[in-house]
């Protein structure tokens, strides 16, 4: 029941709209069906299967809007939820930022759904985890991991004729492998729409080799170093920055994207000229829905081009205030890179630190986007183009804006989280203290 086809979703939404008495009505129907396995100390600890579906109704009179939602789908419940949203709308104060609903539009279909991933069973998950456990047990290491998959659908309809539907699949896997002495630790995480791309055996071997390779780390002085960031580490820094690509907070003067003296930094060279970032819902490796929750088409958007900020996201309300077209936010960012592999980046480095992962990143100063966090699960010293020895973890204090002004080289982008991120070679990255954590 949880995954409805386009036609099934449309039929339910049409029925709900027929119950509406408000001036305008906006519906959102979504569901997901998936499962997970968690394991630790080389044994499965918990497993679950979850299936949920819910409908949200937003009714409006003038500029007064009420919202209600429900997870029951008989006619009485559907009538009840519509009525409740209408009652709440009557009670609500006027929302000066209310935007009239958008009418009918056509959206292209992006390749977010994969039938094989949708067909994953508890047995598939168990087999995938067994492969991971084989690696750790054979090497006398300890694994703790999490495997999760879900099929989801989202659909929206409104009383002005808008209808949109998207179905997607996702499978994600992460594992931490540690040696028995607790002196070495390695980690890997990977997500795909397509099950065929997920290889838990190979991924677990990578984590295991990091666990072995990171044992016996030496302490070296914190300070400014050239770093090679694996895509996972780079991705966490970029994710923290990209959330600030919002025009309103920039215009309001409370963002690193605010221009001193007023306005935004659109058009400004904020990064090195080898930095270009875009998003594209049709990208075959990181597809995403082609429409946003409020019915705007999500198109390919260039956010940064050769270091210059080209676009920020604009809500419909803010776009109307500024007289520009709305631009929806898209988390699936693609950072363009080069052709070099991680190994080639290391080879070209005289002295530096290889960072495989960052951890517990938090904002320290929203004006400069200074972030703090730590390296984790494998940090290595590079000399004369070779990894020489593992080093103890560092705390860093660094801004991704400053970091992206110090880009020496970029490797080939790979799927990391929801994005395509290259490994990066960055000079003068600031480590401020050492950590004993493994």
């Amino acid at each position: 029941m949880a995954i409805l086809s386009k036609e099934e979703a449309q039929a339910i939404l049409k029925k709900v709209l027929s119950f509406s008495k408000a001036e305008s009505c906006e519906l959102s129907l979504s569901g997901s069906d998936g499962g997970n396995i968690r394991y630790a100390r080389n044994a499965v600890s918990t497993a679950g299967q979850i299936s949920v579906m819910s409908l949200s109704v937003s009714s409006t009179y003038g500029k007064k809007t009420g919202m209600a939602s429900i997870n029951e789908f008989d006619d009485v419940s559907l009538q009840k939820v519509v009525k409740r949203s209408e009652e709440l709308a009557m009670l609500a104060p006027e929302n000066p930022e209310f935007m009239p609903l958008l009418g009918a539009q056509t959206f292209p279909e992006s390749p977010t759904f994969n039938a094989k991933t949708a067909a994953i069973t508890p047995d598939t998950r168990a087999e995938m985890v067994l492969k991971s456990l084989q690696v750790s047990k054979a090497a006398k290491l300890e694994a703790a991991g999490f495997l999760e998959n879900a099929t989801e659908f989202r659909s929206v309809m409104n009383s002005k004729g808008l209808f949109a539907y998207n179905k997607s699949t996702d499978v994600s896997f992460s594992v931490t492998v540690r040696n028995q002495e607790g002196t070495g630790s390695g980690y890997i995480e990977q997500g795909f729409n397509d099950l065929d791309k997920m290889d838990t055996l190979t991924l677990s071997k990578i984590a295991a080799s990091k666990a072995v390779g990171s044992a016996g780390a030496k302490a070296i002085e914190p300070g400014k170093y050239t770093v090679i960031l694996e895509p996972l580490a780079a991705s966490d820094m970029l994710g923290n920055m990209f959330r600030g690509f919002d025009a309103r907070s920039a215009d309001e003067g409370r963002s690193f994207m605010s221009k001193p003296g007023g306005g935004t930094r659109i058009g400004e060279q904020l990064f090195s000229d080898n930095v270009s970032i875009y998003s594209d819902p049709m990208h075959p490796e990181v597809p995403s829905a082609t429409w946003s929750a409020d019915g705007i088409a999500v198109n390919k958007t260039q956010w940064v081009e050769k270091g210059v900020v080209k676009n920020l996201s604009y809500s419909r309300y803010w776009a109307s205030q500024k007289g520009v077209a709305p631009i929806p936010f898209n988390r699936s960012i693609v950072m363009e890179g080069g052709t070099q592999t991680l190994e080639e980046l290391i080879k070209s480095t005289e002295k530096g630190i290889l960072v495989t992962r960052f951890w517990y990143i938090r904002s320290v100063d929203p004006q400069t986007l200074l972030l703090t966090g730590l390296t984790r699960d494998g940090t290595f010293y590079i000399e004369n183009g070779e990894i020489k020895f593992p080093v103890k973890n560092f705390r860093f204090n660094e801004s991704p804006v400053i970091m992206l002004n110090n880009v020496e080289a970029l490797g080939k982008p790979v799927r990391t989280g929801n994005g395509m991120i290259p490994p990066m070679k960055i000079r003068d990255f600031t480590f401020t203290s050492l950590s004993d954590a493994v």
Binding site: R41, L88, A144, S399, A437
Partner: protein
């Protein structure tokens, strides 16, 4: 880990969990006889399929959020989530299933599914689950002691309060202000094959705001968050009381009653000072940490590393493990902190977020020492962990954030005992030559074994020769947990003791949240490394 404060990050939409319901619906609890009947269906069905132990949680989780910015209401939402989770032991292994369809057939099917999952998982078991003994309590109940049920207060009154807070901020020169009230009511019914039928009605509230001032000439902005804290209380928390205020220092602080209007006016004044604050000179300082700040340092550096599941490796793939390994506890002489450091765990302190009568596996709540005279003496356990420490009973630390979540070990209140002498914060400051006095939580980060951390504050005042001389900007302290707690030299007395807390402590995969409080009095730490975090882009 702790989730970022919702109040500070709220922009357009307010996150809401569960489905929306009307207020009147929320006020009618589910009939207790019906809950017992439904629980018995699950207990009997699981037993019939071969479960050797079963427990059931029937949960009705109500949430209300009112969110405003400047002169407008952004969102009013009521949420409800209702259903049943069934946990069993069969063939020595745990199994869990949940359902939101509460007819007898669906409940029985979910119970059978839980047993089937347990039997399936038992093939991958290394050792069978061992539960600490727990007697049944029969039919009992518990309710958060409260004076005003926040869900019964008219929405208009809440909106009026928040809009008044906003207008006070704007009058005082703020450029932007967001204010919110989050309210939670967990109506939770627990039953187990040990013979307990426990009905609990748990309430929490969190009013908060973020005020922003801008210096257009310098292109700078500063924010100040509310000095409220989430509490296990009703709406009475928002009824000011002079006897619950601590005045006289640079900041008015609040105990178990909060004056939101007074605080927002002070916040606006603080922001003007913050925009003119001088940059910190990096170096070693004696830190005087107010409970509104120190609670988060306690949470991250004492609360998390003493979670036994982290120590054992069950959280290795997510939150991490712990430097407080079992050998340190077994030695009975691991110097976690200085002799003045006494840390107490509890699930009973009135007004705290952790306070309940019984945990989510039917164990009666209590209190115990974690750090005694600076020495690590205990951890946090649930029933299937107690034997690892040779304990005869669980410490009642089991919690699930929803009826459809698997209960596991969560942090109780973990609090720093105040000093024995009747020392005030003002008196403590007088004894500091070169120091920083910090209020309120801000940036926080700690490694996966809880050694190295960095924290900053909402307000950081410089202390010179016993006097507060003004606000500093860009100050963050970095330390190592054991070194930091061993630098603790002085604690204010009981009259300065206050709670701080969070609604959104995250742990587990899939991630679950829990709410927890940490009490302390103002405390001094000597010679801590403070760095300057100012940068230019």
């Amino acid at each position: 880990m702790t989730g970022i404060g919702l109040g500070a990050t709220m922009a357009q939409g307010v996150p809401l969990f569960g489905r929306d319901i009307s207020v009147e619906e929320a006020l009618t609890p589910v009939d207790i006889k019906l809950k017992k009947k439904m629980a018995d269906v699950a207990l009997n069905a699981a037993r019939a399929k071969g479960a050797t132990y079963t427990d059931v949680r029937i949960g009705r989780y109500l949430n209300q959020v009112i969110a405003t910015r400047e002169a407008q209401v952004q969102n009013i939402a009521n949420g409800e989530s209702y259903g049943m989770g069934i946990r069993v032991i069969a063939n020595g292994s745990w199994g869990f299933a949940a359902t939101d369809n509460l007819d007898n057939d669906s409940i029985a099917r979910a119970a059978e599914m839980a047993v089937a999952i347990a039997k399936g998982n038992s093939k991958l078991l290394t050792e069978p689950v061992q539960l600490a003994p727990q007697k049944g309590f029969g039919e009992v109940s518990w309710k958060t002691p409260l004076e005003i049920n926040a869900f019964e207060v008219p929405i208009k009154d809440k909106i009026d309060l928040l809009l008044k807070v906003n207008s006070e901020a704007m009058l005082a020169g703020a450029k932007y202000v967001n204010s919110n009230i989050f309210m939670v009511n967990e109506q939770k019914y627990f039953a187990s094959t040990e013979g307990s039928y426990i009905d609990q009605d748990v309430h929490r509230i969190w009013p908060t705001f973020t005020v922003t001032k801008i210096d257009p000439a310098g292109g700078k902005f500063e924010t100040r968050n509310a000095f409220s804290t989430p509490m296990g209380m009703g709406f009475e928390y928002l009824v000011p009381k002079e006897s619950e205020k601590i005045k006289g220092g640079p900041v008015t602080m609040y105990k178990k009653r909060y004056d939101m209007l007074e605080d927002v006016k002070e916040a606006a004044v603080h922001l003007t000072e913050k925009l003119k604050a001088k940059p910190l000179q990096p170096g070693k300082y004696d830190l005087v940490l107010d409970p509104s700040h120190l609670f988060l340092t306690i949470h991250e550096s004492v609360g998390h590393p003493t979670e036994l599941d982290r120590v054992l490796g069950y959280e290795a793939n997510y939150a991490g493990t712990s430097f407080l390994t079992l050998d340190k506890w077994e030695s009975k002489k691991f110097n976690f902190g200085s002799k003045q450091v006494n840390v107490i765990a509890d699930k009973i302190e009135p007004g705290s977020l952790g306070a309940v009568g019984y945990d989510d596996e039917g164990v009666k709540c209590g209190t115990w020492d974690i750090i005694k005279d600076g020495i690590l003496v205990n951890y946090q356990t649930i029933r299937d962990q107690a034997h690892i420490l040779g304990l005869e009973a669980s410490q009642a630390c089991c919690y699930a954030d929803s009826w459809n979540s698997i209960p596991f070990q969560r942090m109780p209140n973990v609090s720093l005992a105040p000093g024995k002498a009747a020392l005030s914060a003002a008196e403590m400051v007088k004894g500091v030559e070169k120091g920083i006095y910090m209020f309120g939580r801000n940036s926080y980060s700690i490694d996966q074994q809880r050694y190295n951390f960095q924290f900053s504050a909402q307000l950081a005042y410089e202390i010179k020769e016993g006097k507060i001389v003004g606000l500093l900007k860009d100050a963050a302290y970095q330390s190592n947990t054991q070194e930091f707690w061993n630098s603790c030299t002085q604690l204010c007395g009981q009259s300065d003791y206050r709670l701080g807390g969070t609604f959104s402590d995250g742990k587990g995969q899939p991630s679950q949240v829990s709410a927890v409080s940490h009490g302390s009095s103002t405390t001094r730490f000597n010679g801590v490394n403070v760095i300057n975090t100012g940068r230019k882009i």
